[in-house]
Symmetry: C2
Subunit: 361 residues, 2 copies
Amino acid sequence: MSWINVTYRIRAPREQLDAIAHGLALEQSVEVAAEVVTDAFVAEEIMGRVAAAHPSDTGLHEIEIQLAAATTGFDVAQSLNMLFGNSSLHAHVELVDVEFPPEFLARFPGPRHGIDGIRRRLQSIRRPLTCAALKPQGLSSEALAKLCGTLAFNGIDIVKDDHGLADQDYSPFAQRVVACQRAIVQVQRATGRACIYAPSLVGSPRALVAQARIAREEGVGAVLLAPALIGMPVFHELVVAHIDVPAIAHPAYAGAARVAAPLLLGKLFRWLGADAVIFPNFGGRFAYSREECAGIANNNRCDWARYARTLPVPAGGLTLERVAEVVDFYGPDVMLLIGGALLAPADRLAERTRAFVASVE
Amino acid sequence: MSWINVTYRIRAPREQLDAIAHGLALEQSVEVAAEVVTDAFVAEEIMGRVAAAHPSDTGLHEIEIQLAAATTGFDVAQSLNMLFGNSSLHAHVELVDVEFPPEFLARFPGPRHGIDGIRRRLQSIRRPLTCAALKPQGLSSEALAKLCGTLAFNGIDIVKDDHGLADQDYSPFAQRVVACQRAIVQVQRATGRACIYAPSLVGSPRALVAQARIAREEGVGAVLLAPALIGMPVFHELVVAHIDVPAIAHPAYAGAARVAAPLLLGKLFRWLGADAVIFPNFGGRFAYSREECAGIANNNRCDWARYARTLPVPAGGLTLERVAEVVDFYGPDVMLLIGGALLAPADRLAERTRAFVASVE
């Protein structure tokens, strides 16, 4: 019998905290009043418990709840259900952290490649890695492949599809993947350098399996997936069963849930098998703080069970001018993703790409 | 060429509204600065546009953006990506409403049964319907089946699994579905009344397909699915390809703080094919307002494309004492879900169930 320790942040008057904690422990387990639970097994081994309450003068308190690991059925969707199913509907509750017991984690393999695996695929370079995005959507597959070749030729390690690229008429998935991967192979032959094209896989489960097959057949070196968009259980099943290469997780749609970013992007995505995680860097065009970004990177890379370390990928309006600051903040085990800032002005793409690559070396 | 009209609510100083609106139109389409878009096709047919800005003195403004339908690839996951992929990461942005063009909606069948189909499966009764939940989890399949039989025998129309019931050791899915469906069939034979057992399907795509097969083989009359938990694209693919009976949508994990409830539960779940939608009723233990609940029910039942009407299912701490008020609020095309309140006190289950059923007639 083992328990999952879950931390929630509660916005409420301090005097209501105990009642709210008690209610949460029931809501996220048996979902009935405690007096209805007459079965001894349910009362002792299934019903959630309040482990601790940490009141604060700010009106924003933390509580720790213990949930029985058995209630998850060791399934991803059901685990999310137990962590934050009904309570996600409570506007005053935020899911902040979770500690899974070892026997729970042992059922989930975590990242299959992680930082070390990604580095091995890039000739084991030790510097911070570089990443750039193919955009805007609406360009033809040929135009995107040309852009892919230019970025790779000028030294980018991983060229990924913009997450907006899907299976649209103007650049159908299969056609685009063939064209972009061919551009990558040409650069590898011309330069002797390792570089990777990572197509974006998006769709319903059947479409994703078909896209994964195309990516595998074409020999791409990594894939981009947005777990919150395709469904976190789907992401996990894909990386376990259908994808051999590193999986780069994108945060699209992940901001819509009241789950703390260090937990969702840092820990849960790693638990599900993300080898790299893209997230909005502080000071960019999104609203994450330095502390949140440090928390994501720390959860990505800290010692955790036997899980491989996940590569943090700060992004979101990153510019050339900020590279030194960002590397200084995250250290060398990081991949910097510069998207739009490489593309403007359009006539200086190669030059700006080389400057980006030089800046991390 | 057609456009999707999307409404966002923005919390910002009024003087920043135009810049934010312009940024959002780019973020949710080409994801680069407008000056980078040199391709005429992209500029004219792909790049998002600001249709209107409605500033307010409250600091909470609404803006309307037009996104090209072509960017969705007519895929569910990619549609969510275009509506709220990156912008979900902006704490000051809420997704409030969306108007899809007819040719977009024509690609998605919507609810296959809807209110009329559910009523037909229940001998075409015209009164408000009743629903109750099997819980707490931790009980054996036999105990749950007994509870199922008692609820159905005393007049409940649809007895559903609590959404916490998954495929746990203490009540494995296949065993539980066989036992509960058998209890339902016995009640139908004994009473001549139609009643339905709706098991909860939860898991990764392969598990869901296997569970759907078991549910079909056992002849259950409906299923419960939590789209936000299993993934909205997965939900859609399941109802289109793997489930024949009505699909009841559960809001677990849908407390996506920044997608307005009337849009997510009322409109998007219907778009994806939900025949009935459970949502937290106002005045219960969740925080939805009367206006939000009215908005959900209205979006469930209003005329929309050729879509069947979805059955609203208010729930969340509903009690016998509130039945008349709730029916008065929603009208007769509603299903009332009373969960825990029927079970406490445990020794009066049958009596309370009959009182619930009598109260809607």
